[in-house]
Amino acid sequence: MNNKRFNSDEKVVEELISNAEKAAKFSEIDTSAIHNERFPKLLLHKNKIVGKKEIDGLVVDAKETKNGIKARVIVNKKIELPIYLCFGVLEKSYDQRINIELIAEENSEAKIYAFCTFPNAENVSHLMKAKYLLKKNSKIDYHEFHYHGKNGAFVFPEIFVSCKENSSFNTSITSLYGVIGKIKYFVDVVLEKNSKCAALSKIKGSKKDMIKVIENAKLLGENSSAVIKSRLISSENSRAIFRGEIIGIGDESRGHVDCKEIIMDNGFAKTIPKLKVLNKKARVTHEAAIGSVDKKEIQTLQARGLTTEEAINLIVKGMLE
């Protein structure tokens, strides 16, 4: 990769957006809106800020420091437009570090799409530590899409979320295209009275990818609830491990862990749903399955003229949706 190519921030932004499109391929996300000046955004290349747009109700305070990017995002009101975050490294080697703090003020609401893209990575690491505070009656939808190119990267996002009374947090991570490399995705959510959380991970591993997803929810408050769902595909020689833990503490709190992993070729999968109930009025359940793609489903699609590979791709696509 010629570094000169990325000397201009404009070109970098173009590349980041083009890779965001690859990460969110076949989703309903309109990545072309990142170009639009009306839309709020924060664009980071390596440990540098290359684009930022605030709007009414959104404060984005980001700084370049010697330890990487430090950003504080405050959502003050209900924001209709989605907020776009592009975190990328276009070079072959780099250590990207991002520390982000998000505060959703009382009664505020926002939808955030984050694109973590490392298209040319050979020796790229991306370490992100995020702390989200959702105040009373707020709602945050945070959806992360990854694209790690042909060789993969080392990616370690850690997200700590505190949901105050009546707040709602929906999150997902999607990494379906390209080679992942190594990913360790960690989410920890603490839920207070009447707050809700839904977390979904959809990751497809290939080559020698190592995938580890750990998602924890602590149902501290009365009537709090959480659903943790994972759909992991482990193909070729990749390894996928999922651990979902829910602790029911509050009265009438409800939790459910639903993990399904599909093994293909020489893939390896392990799934560990962990449930704890510390209050007899709480209820936490789980369902877990590891298996191969259903033979009858493959045969049905073959009988419509699809090849085995086309059939498996369609079945997996459905499962990951």
Partner: protein, 233 residues
């Protein structure tokens, strides 16, 4: 005869059990019926014609003068043979629309064209338009069955093997299914695998299977008569 299946001295085994024992017949007409009681080998025969690997065969299956006995499912599908399963697959998460679009693959249609085709077909088979966006796994057994028939129709097959197309279908929808099979038979040769006397009477010719053997073949009314007589014995 065009689009004819010829079964020659066919025996089928699965897990060392003999399911079909040296049968021979030819499909005749636009609709041909394979009838017989539960466990007679009808579904095993359909799976064998479709090419499911777990059914080991001896003998020959010939389609349009080509020996297809050794071909894979996809190869047979590309020659124009397809199957509607008695119990259709659930496809967790897959949308009805995506399944049906995949079934149209052979037709090379543009998206707008597919949408209008699907909307019209949904009316004919008694499904609401918004079912296109539903997931197959969310449908009832009867609804899934109708989607399965649509999927078969959309592949534009030369031979459509329909395994118990009326199972799980309510009385009102039965008429729609019957009409749809007649429509299908204008473009494809339909091989009906059925218990239903009413459905089998759509065909002119049939075979009666029992314990993996053919007890009677010929005009459908005659075959049904033989089946009734056999049941009364």
């Amino acid at each position: 005869m065009k689009n004819q299946l010829i079964i020659k001295n066919l025996s089928v085994m699965k897990n060392s059990a003999l399911l079909i024992d040296n049968i021979s017949f030819k499909t005749e007409g636009r609709i041909f019926a394979i009838i017989g009681p539960n466990g007679s080998g009808k579904t095993s025969l359909a799976y064998t014609i479709m090419g499911l690997k777990e059914y080991k065969t001896r003998g020959k299956i010939i389609f349009n003068n080509k020996d297809i006995t050794k071909l894979s499912i996809t190869e047979r599908a590309k020659l124009g043979i397809t199957l509607a399963w008695q119990i259709p697959a659930e496809f967790e998460g897959l949308k009805v629309k995506d399944y049906l679009i995949a079934s149209c693959k052979c037709q090379n249609l543009k998206n707008e064209k597919i949408n209008s085709i699907l909307e019209n077909l949904f009316k004919e088979i008694g499904l609401k338009k918004d079912y296109l966006e539903k997931r197959i796994s969310e449908l009832s057994g009867g609804e899934r069955k109708r989607v399965e028939l649509l999927s078969v129709y959309l592949t534009k097959p030369k031979i459509a093997l329909l395994d118990e197309p009326d199972s799980g279908i309510d009385i009102l929808s039965f008429k729609l299914i019957k009409r749809f099979i007649s429509k299908m038979s204008k473009e494809s040769c339909v091989v009906l695998i059925t218990h239903s006397e009413e459905l089998s009477l759509l065909s002119e010719n049939a075979v009666l299977l029992f314990n993996g053997k053919i007890l009677k073949s010929g005009i459908t009314r005659e075959v049904i008569k033989a089946y009734r007589g056999f049941e009364n014995e």
